[in-house]
Symmetry: C2
Subunit: 450 residues, 2 copies
Amino acid sequence: MEMKQYIEENRGRFLEELFSLLRIPSISSEPAHKDDMVRCAERWKELLLEAGADRAAVYPTTGHPVVFAEKKYDPKAPTVLVYGHYDVMPVDPLDLWDSNPFEPVIRDGAIYARGANDDKGQTFMHLKVFEYLVREGLLRHNIKFILEGEEEMGSAALVKWLPAHRKLLACDIILVSDTTMMDRRIPSINCGMRGICYMEVKVTGPKKDLHSGHYGGGVYNPINTLCKMIDSLIDADGHITVGGFYDDVIELSRKDRKMLARAPFDKKAFMEEIGVADLTGEKGYTTKERVSIRPCLDVNGIWGGYIGDGSKTVIPSEAHAKISMRLVPNQDSHTIAKLFAKHFRKIAPKGVKVEVEERHGGEGFLIPISSRAYKAASRAMGEVYGIEPVPSRGGGSIAVLAQMQRHLNADPLLMGFGLERDAIHSPNESYLLDQWEKGMESIALFYKYY
Amino acid sequence: MEMKQYIEENRGRFLEELFSLLRIPSISSEPAHKDDMVRCAERWKELLLEAGADRAAVYPTTGHPVVFAEKKYDPKAPTVLVYGHYDVMPVDPLDLWDSNPFEPVIRDGAIYARGANDDKGQTFMHLKVFEYLVREGLLRHNIKFILEGEEEMGSAALVKWLPAHRKLLACDIILVSDTTMMDRRIPSINCGMRGICYMEVKVTGPKKDLHSGHYGGGVYNPINTLCKMIDSLIDADGHITVGGFYDDVIELSRKDRKMLARAPFDKKAFMEEIGVADLTGEKGYTTKERVSIRPCLDVNGIWGGYIGDGSKTVIPSEAHAKISMRLVPNQDSHTIAKLFAKHFRKIAPKGVKVEVEERHGGEGFLIPISSRAYKAASRAMGEVYGIEPVPSRGGGSIAVLAQMQRHLNADPLLMGFGLERDAIHSPNESYLLDQWEKGMESIALFYKYY
């Protein structure tokens, strides 16, 4: 039986099982959900065993647990390690959701829930292809699963757990569905991702909150000062001003840039989708390049002073910001963190104190498109979508993959079936059923050609 | 009997009566304290009657009530209207208080409680001088009291109530103790205060929160953009860049600046008190001038994106700030609000939308130091402190006084006895007993010389 037919015959059960995962609010960054994390890990273990794993286990770590499962086929056959994560992002602002984020519903051909795509929905495709291969007697590989619970927080626990479990995870390829395709009609395969360096800064002025009438005009206001410092981090050409920031950036060749430019990009549609009238970014690069092959700096959060209703005339003692930089392969996140901290301290005026902390980091990586695994994935997706996939570069970061690549000496392969419309970290996250099913068909074919 | 002796003989009762006011948590901005506001107004009415008022009444308004009282002496004698407020600021963060803010205690020669100074403690001095004048047969003026319950919120209710009660409040001078002296050894009289224009802004970029990995580097991040816009509001010389902002600012004469410069100012002590290593401000002016006779702009609050624990890689849809400008006399707060809104919209890049709202405003004012009332106050304080008071300019705003000046056609006179050490809007607000008593002596002498 083809995968397409297998889906047809099992669609109801598939959805029920996926929904059972989506109903668990496994928000890794919120301590209140600690038990939900364990519940979610246990549910994955159960489903992996039901699908046909020889064994499955929930392993404790220094943080949220990881789930491991495997099915052995033949020591001589290649081993595929499926990586995924069962944790999800927070859901606030809750009032912008059209339905409960943890009560999945199907509307207009898509599943709506937190995690519908990222990454429960996408990882679930691998679970069901695995089940199909086992039950239909089509298994020709050793298959392992490693699912972590901290991807949305930087994967610290898995990174620590990894070195002691190299043997357990040993594999030929790390197969991941946690990314997007560029368009629902144009399949693409990520052949590189950005790294990240996430910092938190605190600017302290006066030792206590001051009355803005008595002191306004004469002292360094920490908020105004923080704004000035942040503004200075990017110059008029869109370059990051942190000293040494670009030292390890590898410039892409004209040929590589041309290849990436083959991927269609409709600027007008892009702007309409996110609802903006203009774009910005680094001089000399296209928007597509700016969000994928070039590093960048964004403030992800800022707070200080009085933020309630009404007005309070205060010069606050402190102002805070969370600032992250997306890095390109070959930039080291800890090096960048050090350069940033040094720079940020340097640009602070004498009238304030600054504290700079590295919150998390991860390296970018590249995947050779000449590899057997990439070719198999390309053939599989080409067959399902009727068009050869475009190699693309992802702008996001899956920090742990660079670590796994290094420790397991195996390349990741990113077969992602999300779409930008899925709003993965936003209210009303969704995943198109059509992509979910085409994803399963593609993955099944990948095993056929790999 | 001199006031000094009258205090000596009645100190215990004075403190008991003041404490009865301080025990009422009359926080005007917190709806939960609505009944406490009424209780506090009623208690003032009671005390005013006991002190010798012919009549006293609590008047309803559109907000918290006002207390009015009067004692007629002679239609031909001057009428003094004492203005004060019985509302207090919120008390959070409560854990920074060394004792219950609403259970007054005396420690190290000072009364500690919310409102100990601002403005129950200061207004109470007028109540007791009034009692002294009546009971000792020294009354030579008509005396009125108007106490409001919304000063800490902008005085909206009193401003609305005012026009219909001009006759009731008719007076020759508005006497106020709601400000500070520059030093406990150097008496000063405020001869002008700043106005205020308080705005709230919102910068909207993409219509929904975006994943910073997928979009970072290519779109206008509303936080970065807001920071850039805020940074541009003040130039390198400390000038506000809003077009037309300085049009109505009256430059002080060299002579006036010299007079104000006579007031001692210890920059090192000032910096130590607030715990900063450097000061900033408008080029060409001293710190004292920057915080009093010059306008300024401060961000009082900023928020946007993810501000919880940990990290979230989001480019938020919105960023917000509360921005206020202190104005000098002759600048109109509504005009400034319009100029600010126009400027802020103009400097926004095309990739974001901005909303600008005027939250509240009030005008600054000047008090002629050549007036009979100023001279009487100066003589009185000079006698009590043994040194001629310095005319000073206050940096804060008592928005309602400009309105009263206009509607009642009478100048305010600001005899304030607070000190910076009193921490009036902060935890552990206090009022030195020595200042409290010298204040009463000064006010009693004011009546003698006015």
